[in-house]
Symmetry: C3
Subunit: 308 residues, 3 copies
């Protein structure tokens, strides 16, 4: 069995059994919650701090709920999102927080690699959890996505999963690909404007299919990504309506997928841009299950890193 994690900054190169252990734990917590156990005390007396250099109320709240439901105290360190804290200034902040005897720091930063830099400079037993760094990784999102898929389709070796949108700038896509790869997914396809694709070298086993109709054919799960509106300039398309006609998930396209294809999105959704309203709200949508799984996955991660 792989050793217990002390930090979680990326899913890249994480052993399959570690990922499965986290998913199993999340599942057990979900079952306990369904049976009425709303609060545990495994982290009683521990303190978790949210250090968000980019605003994200949803993710921060999900982590806050996860930590509290394990009995931990949570402190939001309001760093001010104007701060571009990096280098020595960032490490001084880290060391100050460590000196206050925290157990975990949950960090979001627009600079890729910041969580690993914090790990490299940590002097105490504090655990670092990446809540999203630049374009690089958003490991708990990757975990909650594969957990959601596994709850419906545990046979990853038979699955075709499509990720559609701006893959190049998406930490969600990267963590999804790492998790799906670790679990042995049969085929991962990415789809979107060619200018928003990663280099072929980055993910040699991932298939790029430019045409969404072709990409979705036979897919068992499709993950649509939020279009950052400032990316429209980089795309050879006149407007959001054109984006939707090329890369939007609507009922016609969903019908091309395998029967029961899971519809997923990390949220918040842009209705009518990357996904049609009736698909987002339809019977195949797993979007709200993803949100619920997010809390359980984060509880599992905190439990893995902090429990004695």
């Amino acid at each position: 069995m792989s050793p217990r994690l002390r930090h979680l900054t990326t899913l890249e190169n994480l052993p399959r059994d570690t990922i499965e252990r986290l998913l199993d734990r999340a599942e057990a917590l979900r079952d306990a919650c369904a049976h009425g156990t709303r609060k545990l005390s495994v982290l009683a007396g521990r303190t978790v701090l949210n250090l968000f250099f980019e605003p994200s109320t949803r993710t921060r709240t999900s982590f806050e709920l996860a930590a509290r439901r394990l009995g931990a105290d949570v402190v939001n360190f309001d760093i001010g999102f104007s701060s571009t804290s990096k280098g020595e200034e960032l490490f001084d902040t880290l060391h100050t927080l460590e000196a206050m005897h925290l157990d975990a720091i949950i960090v979001r930063h627009k600079q890729s690699g910041t969580p690993d830099e914090l790990v490299g400079h940590a002097m105490s037993g504090v655990s670092v959890i990446n809540a999203g760094d630049g374009n690089r990784a958003h490991p708990t999102q990757g975990l909650l996505d594969v957990l959601t898929i596994r709850q419906h389709r545990p046979d990853f070796e038979n699955l075709i999963v499509v990720i559609c949108g701006d893959i190049k700038h998406s930490r969600v896509a990267r963590s999804d690909i790492h998790a799906l790869t670790a679990l042995g997914t049969k085929e991962i396809r990415v789809c979107g404007p060619s200018t928003l694709m990663p280099s072929a070298e980055e993910f040699p086993k991932v298939h790029y299919v430019e045409n969404f109709d072709e990409a979705i054919r036979g897919a068992d799960a499709v993950i649509t990504l939020r279009l950052q509106k400032e990316r429209m300039a980089a795309i050879d398309l006149p407007d959001e309506a054109a984006y939707f006609s090329h890369y939007g998930l609507d009922q016609r396209r969903l019908a091309l997928a395998a029967k029961g294809c899971l519809v997923m999105h990390p949220g918040p959704i842009n209705r009518g841009i990357e996904i049609a309203s009736d698909v987002a709200d339809g019977a195949q949508s797993r979007i709200l299950e993803q949100v619920g799984n997010g809390v359980f996955v984060r509880m599992a991660v905190l439990n893995e890193l902090l429990a004695r």
Copy 2:
């Protein structure tokens, strides 16, 4: 006995026995606090979320204290007050929060009716509590106001209550009128500039008395409302000093009321505009009692909605 409430969005049409049950509960919690019980555990393991689209530190803190004193966890969802979240975007936020297994959402929004829209779209067992929506309702303020009156003058059928100020745009006034009406108050008078009065049809049993000296004569309680300074433009008066001379509560006017007339204000007060300092700080002022009752009323509401 009226059935237990699941949501609280308005006091309009709430049965008298429901209101009295909430007031009795608030009173019992107040007594327990006076005897040293500062924290209960009836809501242990439950999570309450503050979703404030308008800033209100006082009200938010009052709800936060109420929830914590019942043992609940409280999360402040900092939506950013620039957000004008409505329609699908608002409901997506609601559904996201529901998916995180919250027990109650306390919402303040500048658009009247938003809390009822949330109730209409809620998919889970979450309770919605209105902390103020537009001009429409502020039910916990209405409850704390009648609780404060009841502690001194429980004989509502003998009472004359005056509300003075901008009734038209006041959710506090509306919730006060609903609560006072339900409890059988003998006479409710409103007073203020004619341009700031509601239509006669809205409250057919409420008496509009333009002249404050006349309105306050014989009153057992007078509720002065905060003047929103941007309303001065809608009033045929040159300045705030003129407003005070017409509608300000001073000692001379208070002497026209019944002996022991209760002086109330939802806060924060504008001294010298709607109320004279010596009246606000005087022996008949119940303004701080209102604040204290606010916490107990909110505890009672949370207990009503959430306790098993």
Copy 3:
């Protein structure tokens, strides 16, 4: 034995035995923490409110951690830092908070004397703790500084302590001088540009030494203060590099001090302005110990003021 404190607004004129009682308590809490006791329940059911009119994430977080580790609930009252609340408006806020049955209000305000005004106007049993007011006092910083010194050098009657920087505008310096004086420190020296020194009358027993090389000679502890960059205009020096060459603590200067001289700074540090990086990170630096002691000192103060 001096009576228990009800408020803590300044260290000025505090009896030595009171200061020592607080330091002893902080030390005991530090020992308990080192042996694994991360959370106590002495303040269970009590509520502490942070009322910060100036932003200070570090100090606020330190107080928040301290209160939670004693079992108290903590509410952050986000007053909006644009507010210049003073006079009646400030006292109305105080009375509103008191009416909500809080146990302690931790206040930071840019106006010197605000915490004492709150004490003067408090109507209930609420305790006021000063988290920094103007140039006047930052008593918990003073306590954590002398605690840090005492852990290494408890023989204050033999110690020479130097404080270097903008003494005139520093509440940290004032609270340090008060604490060091109460504990019988042999010699306190201040150093810095003459325009940034307090009047000779304010601290008659403190020695002003303009030249840092002279000031540090034989010192047992040196406290460097953060240079507020807007103060450069008041100094007869061309730039920050010149400030560093005159008043920066580097290895050459530290070598002039007594062997093992403690290097201290209230943080956050400006590397290369008031302190050289290698000194801040060096073996003699106590800067992170100060941060850790800050939590224990604040626990001790909350325990002194609030425990039954």
